[in-house]
Amino acid sequence: MNLDFSRVWGSIPFILQGIPTTLQYTLLSVVFGFLLGVILSLCKISGIKPLDYFAQAYTSIFRGVPLILMLSLVYFGIPQLTGYNFSALEAGVITFSLNSAAYVSETIRAGILAVDRGQREAAMSLGVPYLLYMWDIILPQALKNILPALVNESINLLKDTALVSTLGAQDILRSAQIVGAEKYLYFEPLIIAGVIYYVLVITLTFGATALEKWMRRID
């Protein structure tokens, strides 16, 4: 066994430079995935059959197909059809958002259904129309209950973004691979990348715990 971390010390700043890229993919995908997930979940509980079926089919497809296949379809496949070339960022954010929306929509749906029916009736009796009370009254309460599940999803997303290294985007993983290729050392830079991912995830978890505590302050 010949481990030699000393040879990659100098490359750590280079790997760290991948963090903003990783976070950029994650953040954009979390936001778009969430918004799309809200829309899908509203389709699922709308009681309007075509919307419901569409949302169900959508969820089923994204659950049933590997993420890397979806990513390749968007990045390599769609240009073949349309002639438009996505950047790695566009392809990554589109794929991750669409994928995340499928999972999040189920979580949000359950969260909305768990909010007391009286809340809806109180808003309705004040003359508040559907979308407005959903957004102002029901969703905030649903979100509070599903926050842990949403944090889980964000953590998955953060880790999934490592897939964009296959498109050449210089995220944390790709940076580590570049260092590896340069120095003919793979174990050490990959371990460093792993530690960085781990620290990011742990930070996210702590942040979420604090946020949850803050949201429960009024219970």
Partner: protein, 244 residues
């Protein structure tokens, strides 16, 4: 006391699947009237009340509000702005402060200026004796206080009618009075009210009319004096014997 008809109900029917809850109710409520709706449990009194603001969609018959047929209209939300409702379980918005609960609908629906809405909200809170609770979240209030806030919230939309669905049934006995007192002070302002209640003494004292529902039908429609002293149907007699 009685002015124009504000609500007219014609042959109102409501079924939940095979369960036929309301079986052809025809009546009306006049402006400024206080109607107490009473009857044994399961008689359909809450369903009847909830049909009036279309929280339950009638399966038959018609409901008119200010002369307009609202039974199947699309703009239900617009109509509901004029018909307040107070629930047994209060249903305050837990993520909003007391004052935000009250000002939410006026600001968002009536597009009233925020500061003006706040001022009006504070006046309403003072009316129900809770001005000092403006910035508190509902979870910090007692049941009676919650219901008083719910009444203020409903008043903030300046409705023409307020429907009360067993407003004191979820309260500890010592809190019932504070809510009934607030309701009494409301009655003195001349607002139209329909109250589903088990508080017989209250119904007798404050109402102009009693609706006695039994088995989904309006079994009696009488003044409280007549109803409580000489109920017409046997079912009402039995009911009163148990209640009083």
């Amino acid at each position: 006391m009685t002015g124009d008809r504000i609500i007219q109900v014609e042959d109102l029917n409501k079924s939940f699947g095979k369960l036929h809850v309301l079986k052809g109710i025809t009546t009306n409520i006049h402006k400024g009237e206080v109607v107490a709706i009473i009857g044994p449990s399961g008689c359909g009194k809450s369903t009847f009340l909830r049909c009036l603001n279309l929280l339950e969609e009638p399966t038959g018959g018609r409901i008119y509000f200010n002369g307009k047929d609202i039974s199947h209209i699309k703009e239900v939300a617009k109509i509901r702005q004029h018909i307040g409702m107070v629930f047994q379980q209060f249903n305050l918005f837990p993520h909003k402060t007391v004052l935000e609960n009250i000002t939410y609908a006026p600001i968002k629906i009536k597009k009233i200026d925020k500061n003006e809405a706040k001022e009006k909200g504070l006046v309403l809170l003072a009316k129900v004796g809770l001005q000092e609770k403006a910035d508190v979240y509902p979870s910090r209030l007692s049941g009676g206080q919650k219901q008083r806030v719910a009444i203020a919230r409903s008043l903030a939309m300046e409705p023409e009618v307020i429907l009360f669905d067993e407003p004191t049934s979820a309260l500890d006995p010592e809190m019932v009075k504070e809510v009934l007192d607030v309701m009494k002070s409301l009655i003195s302002t001349g607002i139209t009210m329909a109250i589903v209640t088990h508080e017989m003494n209250f119904a007798r004292e404050v109402s102009d009319r009693i609706f006695f529902l039994d088995g989904g039908k309006l079994a009696e429609d009488a003044t409280p004096e007549n109803f409580f002293s000489q109920p017409q149907c046997d079912r009402a007699k039995q009911f009163l014997e148990k209640m009083l």
